[in-house]
Symmetry: C2
Subunit: 335 residues, 2 copies
DNA sequence: CGATGTTGAGTTACCCGTAACGTAAAGCTA
DNA sequence: TAGCTTTACGTTACGGGTAACTCAACATCG
């Protein structure tokens, strides 16, 4: 590895026998130079392995970096992996880069991350959820850059918002179960973060069940992460403590698949003995024999839309500040 | 949203009635100022919502940004999600940020990404695989920053390397199947990128099977992405064209689970009628009834190690350039 | 009481590109 | 051929911090 100090434009210019300005013009193909000069400059650029220092450029122009900060809670959650994919496709085609932050559901972590990222003049931010610390809110409001809050729909966002109404999606699923004749219905999910979207889903779900005369709080099991095994284990816990539960709504499909495996391993038939429903229409569903009742959400599209809003704002276009990406209940064979 | 131009240190200093330098000293807690001055400066910092411009600091110091570029092929692959998680935990605790690039297995995309990221003076890079374009290699070599190539073990890395010998892991799985008495063994995987790790696994696997007198090339099905459904569909294709196949090795566990579902949906018993093996010990396995034979790889640890190498190098510590993270064949109930 | 430190500042220069402006030489026009 | 335009550069200044230096006021000491 070469311990080369970085080659600067001045060195290239000196080597080529021209001024910095001329070299700069050649590199930006700005015109106003002769062909022979161009050749000279480019030759030395190549020979010295010069790479422009964009930090200096952006700094001089007083402009932002091409970085867009993207904060999500967790990569283990496939839904967010898909959202990121959507964001990256859009941003990448416009020369922007993602600076990824994993908040791990901790507002303090998010605040620190926001402060660090903002101090590097990002072109924009995409944040998951709407629960930020007061100091974070102040910094964000002061930043003057476009910000998109995603996932949770928010009628009064900091700036812009793309998401869905998690409460309603939970309510709809609850009513669906009630209408199908289930009364003793439960919920298996995770328990970190008080203001997150999954919590809203649970609230809506509980409300619908209450409206139907049931009570979810008797049939509740909250674990740590929303993945396969916590779904399996949570279902075991719930069935052991409340064997009369008739149907379970899971925080997401991966948990539901874990729960489904537990039920069948225990000899329970789905849906005859117990009904199961997931959320998110995650990839695993495409291969599971027993078609899971789920809530379809267009995660990739959500990411793309968020990135589009950001890009449009940067280019000065008028943008609808809030977009509802919606959801769709997909009845399966497990209810 | 305030259209505030960014507040600069000079404005804070002016408001506080001191020089820029004094304000700077207070903010960096460098000493050499009185308590009353400190109060004045901090009051105005707060009032104006001043956030230091780290780009200017780094630029002036000629130093790098705190950004570490991380390039992976794809977020849909849970193995890489885990690697990223490991990287983020280590980097985050040292104040570094990840700039994520998704190469989507296209060397040209990677080259463009590398050029952009390098022009922003990252503190280091983590790249997946060892196949970079010639121009990318030149830029990397010239950059003078620490670089870790991950995933594929590489005896002569650009700089540093953490990974495993995919060829060997494939060979070991192949020999395992042969020793268990399977002869007509197949492979279901993906087909993009000629020099990627999965390809190495297939090579090693093929070699082992050939050593055992078989021929994988007769029983091969390559799809697009290494996820559940392509595993399901690929297995269907393979079984339709070569019904006499006795065992299948999948590129990863998610594909294997898809294949397993297909087999049982067709009434095949696993392993009595057909043997199945996966790779990676991915989360889904924890809930699948039929314990899948797989290859365990410590993905999170791999990411952590890569980040550690980077951080150590940045702090001038001597670092072992190449680390083999290893793998472990976990015999299950599907072979 | 002058010499010497110490404290708490301010001043200057610099990092690396680029905007804005200046200019010499060549080309073109009337 | 004077006068104007164009071409192909060069020069200067700037941005937001900070290193390195300078400097004035006051304290301390022999």
């Amino acid at each position: 590895m070469s311990k080369n100090k970085k080659v600067s434009l001045a060195e290239v210019a000196r080597a080529a026998g021209v001024s910095k300005m001329t070299a700069s013009r050649v590199l930006r193909n700005e015109g106003g130079f002769s062909e022979s000069t161009r050749q000279k400059v480019l030759t030395h650029v190549d020979r010295l392995g010069y790479l422009p220092n964009r930090m200096a450029t952006a700094f001089a122009a007083g402009s932002t970096s091409p970085f867009v900060g993207v904060s999500i809670p967790d990569l283990g959650n496939e839904a967010f992996a898909q959202v990121l994919d959507g964001i990256d496709r859009k941003l990448g085609s416009f020369g922007h880069q993602m600076v990824l932050g994993l908040s791990r559901q901790l507002p303090d972590e998010e605040e620190r991350w926001i402060e660090t990222v903002l101090s590097w003049q990002p072109a924009g931010l995409i944040l998951t959820g709407r629960a930020h610390s007061p100091r974070a809110n102040a910094m964000l409001r002061n930043s003057g850059i476009p910000i998109v809050e995603i996932w949770d729909l928010n009628s009064s966002p900091l700036d812009m918002c793309v998401g869905l109404n998690h409460y309603d999606s939970g309510y709809q699923m609850g009513r669906f179960l009630i209408e199908r004749g289930y009364h003793r219905v439960g919920y298996v999910g995770t328990d970190h973060g008080v203001a997150n979207a999954a919590r809203s889903r649970l609230s809506g779900f509980s409300e619908a069940v209450r409206d139907g005369g049931g009570d979810v709080s008797k049939y509740l099991c909250l674990n740590d992460v929303p993945s396969f095994y916590p779904g399996f284990y949570g279902t075991e816990q719930l069935l052991n403590s409340q064997p009369d539960v008739q149907a379970i709504f899971f925080q997401n499909d991966n948990m539901a698949v874990g729960g489904h495996e537990y039920c069948t391993s225990r000899g329970l038939r789905v849906p005859e003995d117990i009904g199961l429903a997931g959320w998110g229409d995650l990839p695993i569903l495409s291969v599971i024999k027993n078609r899971l009742t789920t809530m379809k959400v267009r995660h990739v599209r959500l990411g793309q839309l968020a990135a589009e809003k950001l890009l449009s704002t940067m280019h000065g276009a008028a943008v609808q500040p809030v977009s509802d990406i919606g959801f769709l209940l997909v009845p399966g064979a497990t209810i």
